[in-house]
Symmetry: C2
Subunit: 208 residues, 2 copies
């Protein structure tokens, strides 16, 4: 797998540089539409008063997500992959060029919506954050295990919809922890704000 | 792209055989958890009294979906890709071996949950059916256009949840038809059954 070796070399270079800049870097991964951008909006609005933030957005087409983040007044760079179903380290290195002039305590990388091969590519992040919405079904961690194994944090989103679905948060959590017992799990609704504060205070603890 | 050429050769062989068996073959594609299996359950329960059906399930891990279909009493073969984020024609050819002894008017292939590279691989189907749930966001056709371009039918699912989301079915439809004006669009709830009859009668018309 020559591709992954080359990718990992670039990822290590990125990580070394971000460490020297004291930037905590997160790689947000999920299925399409799980709520990554909406969660970022809620997270940034709570974090921005006390911490510096920048964002790299990754999408197959359009810069719709970057426009949403730009409205929040934080530096954002959009990668358009033109067909690739995942981000790779060289894309992140190039996008970071546009952000090099700012110093950030947090760098959020929102990956392309894909629950499978985004798990394979190291982007130089400190942590992969898997985002799983309650609307996708409780058995996703069992059916798409690699992502939940490589993630450090799992955020279960759209909890405001649980009353309208025949699902249980307990089962989501149980299935995820079966695949990876070390996962730190948050349950949030980016619509009502429920659970977002716990996630944001955990983030703040990572940069003490 | 040697891989795609080889894949297309096998796909053509599959299609030739299925045509000679008078089997109408559909390739269901979507993000993870959009509701493909639940829609299949609703479709099969309405179709089974009058038509013969078989199913090929594709997943990265587990046979959870095949077990759900098996309960309906139709022949089903499960492909476990062990990591590949999409089905390929050779996997379908092998899975079809287990179904060769039955003759079916419909063969449903449920692909791995992935809105990107599943668009690139011909499996020998007559038609790709894209499934998009209202919980994923209205702009998915714009952000992941290839899938909507290659599909012949779009099924918008989970319409029972629209009242709890700030989304409009009109916008889903408009965005999808912007990418592919020839798409035949259905709006269904597999939970309430709304809209499923229109989809099933369209299917029946394909095998007259
Ligand atoms: N009810 C509810 N809806 C939500 C929540 N979070 C996101 N949504 C909705 O889910 C849809 C998708 O949200 P996004 O934030 O765009 O999802 P995403 O993961 O960034 O999507 P991609 O970048 O395309 O993969 C939108 O219609 C949002 O309004 C939530 O907590 N509750
Ligand atoms: N409210 C509502 N929930 C639905 C509907 N269809 C499916 N669901 C729920 O959505 C979740 C996922 O459904 P599945 O049918 O397993 O989705 P899938 O596309 O087959 O998932 P994968 O095969 O893993 O990609 C489950 O919790 C279902 O109960 C619907 O029409 N309305
Ligand atoms: Mg997004
Ligand atoms: Mg399924
Ligand atoms: Zn990929
Ligand atoms: Zn793939």
């Amino acid at each position: 797998r020559k591709v992954l070796e080359k990718n990992d070399e670039i990822a290590d270079e990125i990580r070394k540089e971000l460490k020297s800049r004291k930037t905590f870097t997160l790689n947000l991964v999920s299925s399409p539409g799980s709520g990554k951008t909406t969660l970022l909006e809620q997270t940034i609005s709570r974090l921005k008063p006390t911490h510096s933030i920048s964002v790299i957005e990754g999408d197959v087409q359009t810069d719709i997500d970057a426009q949403r983040i730009d409205k929040l007044g934080v530096p954002v760079s959009q990668i358009v992959t033109n067909g690739s179903c995942h981000l790779e380290a060289d894309m992140v290195r190039d996008a970071f060029e546009q952000l090099r002039h700012v110093s950030s305590q947090f760098l959020f990388i929102e990956n392309v919506g894909n629950l499978v091969c985004t798990a394979d590519f190291d982007l130089g992040e400190d942590l992969k954050v898997a985002v799983l919405s309650v609307t996708e079904g409780e058995e996703k961690p069992l059916k798409y295990p690699a992502m939940f194994r490589v993630a450090g944090v799992l955020i279960i989103t759209k909890t405001d919809l649980v009353p309208y679905l025949g699902v249980s948060l307990e089962t989501f959590r149980k299935n995820a922890l079966t695949i990876n017992p070390d996962l730190v799990v948050f349950e949030v609704s980016s619509k009502t704000g429920e659970g977002v504060d716990a996630w944001v205070s955990w983030l703040k603890q990572q940069v003490r």
